[in-house]
């Protein structure tokens, strides 16, 4: 029943018409195709100027509030960063009081094994269950009505540097999960859990021998065991390739798509080879995990260019032919349009300032690397690399696609970096990095922008410059409005027909979460978003912290006055007309 409903939703989105029921938001990317598009249109490009805050709620947690709420029926679900509290709000009553809250027993040691703040990227709903990951390597399923814990499964090993802030994804009654730990030398994987019982059904690694990758003979023309032969020795065993981003699903092709993160360590000289399949997109069968195809965006990564960004699925006319495509904005500064049945590269063009590569060879799919930008312990301090390792777009900042315009909308960063790599030793459960990487603003001096992108042609349509990097997700609606937030604490609405900000509101802390929209029990459309700066910005701008008298830090040298505009603190906001 539930599956049939979700499938219907997916098909209608792909066909470019509004889904049957846009009242809810049941999975991180809104639909299987991860479009973050809503067919709701009560709030439109004209009346959005009258939008006002109608409700807010402090989560009581200070970590970076990445991810997004869910709305199922007349309940809104919010997962906090560590300690991963799950709140269920009753949208039928004034003030949206809690129905219940669920407080799992999360091991606080996880905070020191998580590379980049104790964040969480959200929950997913299916078959009466709210499912999410706790930071300490567990997946939990909670009864959506009662808040009772239904099952809890250990999926990751903190002793090996694995933590689990990613939002699970559900396809064909499989709960798909992966670990963070690209900075801890993990051996990356994705697992499928049975939605009913929480039992682990399969585990597929992202590198290593074909048997551990669940790659059948003949999957790749390049030969067998590429996950071993593209590494030196057994360096693949601690080679990273975490799965901390988003997952998409095409029910017709029966393929899930997800990106893998950086190889470890950052010092390239400790892992000669292409390091497959780090920084890649993998297409697998949800039923048994079988690998169907893979494409590596950044072979032998020199710059920490994780590929964990969302993979948005749609149909586009590319080069005169209608194609089933997958579109993704990579940390390496290129936006890619691939044929999602085969992995064939169709379009790859830069969406921000790029110096590390002159382009992507369309025929081979391999980047044309500027050899002077290659890093490594023997290469000293390599300067002028753009984009920075925050990414031309962070995978955290999930983009959106409007079938009404055929365009993609996304936050971007305009930062460059120097990169000085050093030899590093792997001590399990401690960082395995080996690089110092200071940032500067990219050309033009502004550090971020919100853009519209034509993925069929590979070109930017318009751009709104922002003073600071833009790290929020995006939602776009049939009212032709897109919403995003800024690190200095503004939540903004954009008229996507003109590419102009038409409304903004100061939400109390920088936005690193992703807005959603839903129809309330009163029949009105609302927009919800988290405020709560964190993630990398807790590390880089340590002066946004005010809770610990024993932790005083200077501001980030490239953004010295960010803390003038924001400090930590999680708030859930709802806006309406």
């Amino acid at each position: 029943m539930q599956r049939a409903y979700v499938t219907l939703l997916f098909v209608t989105v792909l066909q470019g018409t509004p889904p049957q029921d846009d009242g809810q938001w049941t999975m991180p990317g809104k639909d299987y195709a991860s479009t973050r598009f809503s067919g709701l249109a009560q709030i439109n490009r004209t009346n959005v100027t009258r939008l006002k805050a109608v409700w807010s709620f402090s989560t009581g947690v200070l970590g970076g509030h990445e991810g997004q709420p869910l709305v199922v029926g007349s309940t809104m679900y919010v997962v906090t960063p560590f300690p991963n509290v799950l709140y269920a709000f009753d949208l039928t009553r004034e003030g949206y009081p809690l129905k219940w809250k669920y407080r799992p027993d999360v091991n606080p040691t996880a905070v020191g094994v998580a590379c980049c703040d104790a964040i969480n990227r959200g929950a997913v709903y299916a078959a009466g269950k709210v499912v999410y990951n706790t930071l300490d390597g567990h997946t939990v399923a909670v009864d959506a009505i009662t808040g009772r814990e239904l099952w809890k499964t250990q999926i990751a090993d903190m002793g090996q540097g694995e933590t689990t802030p990613m939002a699970p994804f559900i396809a064909r009654n499989r709960v798909l999960v992966g670990p963070s730990g690209g900075e801890f030398g993990i051996y990356g994987w994705v697992k499928a859990l049975d939605l009913a019982s929480g039992k682990i059904l399969w585990t597929a690694h992202n590198m290593g021998p074909d048997s551990l990758m669940i790659a059948r003979p003949g999957t790749f023309t390049g030969g067998a065991n590429l996950g071993v032969s593209t590494w030196s020795g057994d360096s693949w065993r601690r080679g990273g390739a975490p799965v901390w981003g988003w997952i998409s699903y095409d029910p017709q092709l029966d393929l899930i798509y997800f990106g893998t993160g950086n190889p470890g360590p950052y010092n390239t000289e400790q892992r000669p080879g292409e390091n497959k399949w780090t920084n890649s997109v993998l297409a697998r069968r949800p039923s048994d995990g079988a690998l169907v195809w893979a494409y590596q965006f950044t072979p032998h990564d020199s710059w920490d260019f994780d590929a964990n960004a969302e993979m948005i699925l749609t149909d586009l006319v590319v080069g005169g032919r209608m194609r089933k495509v997958l579109v993704t904005f990579n940390k390496n500064g290129f936006a890619y349009t691939l044929d999602r049945a085969t992995g064939e590269l169709l379009v790859a063009e830069p969406f921000t300032h790029v110096t590390w590569a002159k382009g992507i060879d369309r025929r081979t799919g391999v980047p044309i690397v500027d050899s002077t930008k290659v890093t490594g312990a023997s290469r000293g301090n390599v300067k002028g690399i753009c984009p920075s390792l925050e990414g031309g777009k962070s995978p955290v900042s999930s983009s959106a696609y409007s079938p009404r315009t055929g365009l993609f909308y996304t936050a971007t960063n305009n930062l460059c970096m120097n990169f000085e790599a050093t030899q590093v030793t792997r001590i399990p459960a401690t960082p395995f990095i080996g690089a110092t990487t200071p940032y500067v603003a990219g050309p033009g001096g502004y550090m971020g922008a919100f853009i519209a992108w034509d993925a069929a042609r590979g070109r930017k349509v318009w751009e709104i410059k922002e003073r600071f990097p833009v790290w929020s997700g995006t939602v776009v609606t049939a009212g032709d409005v897109a919403f995003y937030g800024t690190l200095d604490g503004w939540f903004k609405a954009v008229d996507i027909r003109t590419g102009r900000d038409v409304w903004k509101f100061k939400v109390g802390s920088g936005v690193v979460g992703a807005p959603i929209t839903f129809r309330g029990p009163d029949g009105k459309q609302y927009v919800a978003v988290y405020a709560g700066i964190g993630g990398d910005w807790f590390l880089l701008s340590g002066d946004v912290r005010s809770d610990d008298p024993a932790d005083l830090r200077p501001p980030a040298d490239f953004a010295p006055d960010l803390a003038r505009h924001t400090s930590q603190g999680g708030i859930v906001w709802i806006f309406g007309l």
């Binding site: 590379c115 030793t425 401690t430 110092t436 340590g542 932790d551 005083l552 830090r553 803390a563």
Partner: protein, 152 residues
């Protein structure tokens, strides 16, 4: 080279960590001078002293260890703070004496600090303590001022 097999006495990077330097093992107990004492009486406790104190060679060795033991991966280059707190701001969660620092490294602390007692020798830990305490406290002062205005 398989870095998974690293033990305290394998590999160039941890050569310094293997030099015992002192025979003293884990401390039995320690006093935190800044803690409130019930009844205003301090409980008995041993105060530990750093056998290396601040000699330059130990500080330099400690600086290398701070990097090779991946301390900088959490506390940042120069210990200025990253996902873990700053260690050079003159402020301490768990006490700032040599002995308290030693205990923090040896046993770990809640909310993320791993226990290095099984990985580093006591002598190596003391050298890291020497390094941390030798760092100048940067001009991060209680007041962070954002404007130069002269009127309130």
């Amino acid at each position: 080279m398989d870095f998974r097999l690293v033990t305290p006495c394998v590999g160039l990077a941890v050569a310094i960590a293997c030099n015992p330097g002192t025979d003293s093992g884990a401390p039995p107990s320690i006093r935190y001078p800044n803690h409130v004492a019930a009844g205003e009486s301090q409980p008995p406790a041993a105060e530990m002293t750093n056998p290396f104190a601040s000699d330059t060679a130990s500080v330099a060795d400690g600086g290398k260890l701070f990097s090779t033991m991946n301390c900088d991966g959490c506390h940042g280059g120069g210990a200025l703070g990253w996902v873990g707190p700053s260690l050079v701001d003159g402020r301490w969660r768990y006490g700032g004496t040599d002995g308290a620092l030693y205990q923090s490294i040896f046993y770990g602390r809640p909310r993320g600090m791993p226990a290095y007692g099984g990985v580093m020798s006591p002598g190596a830990i003391w050298k890291v303590v020497s390094y941390i305490r030798a760092q100048p406290v940067p001009s991060v002062v209680p007041t962070q001022r954002f404007t130069r205005e002269q009127t309130p």
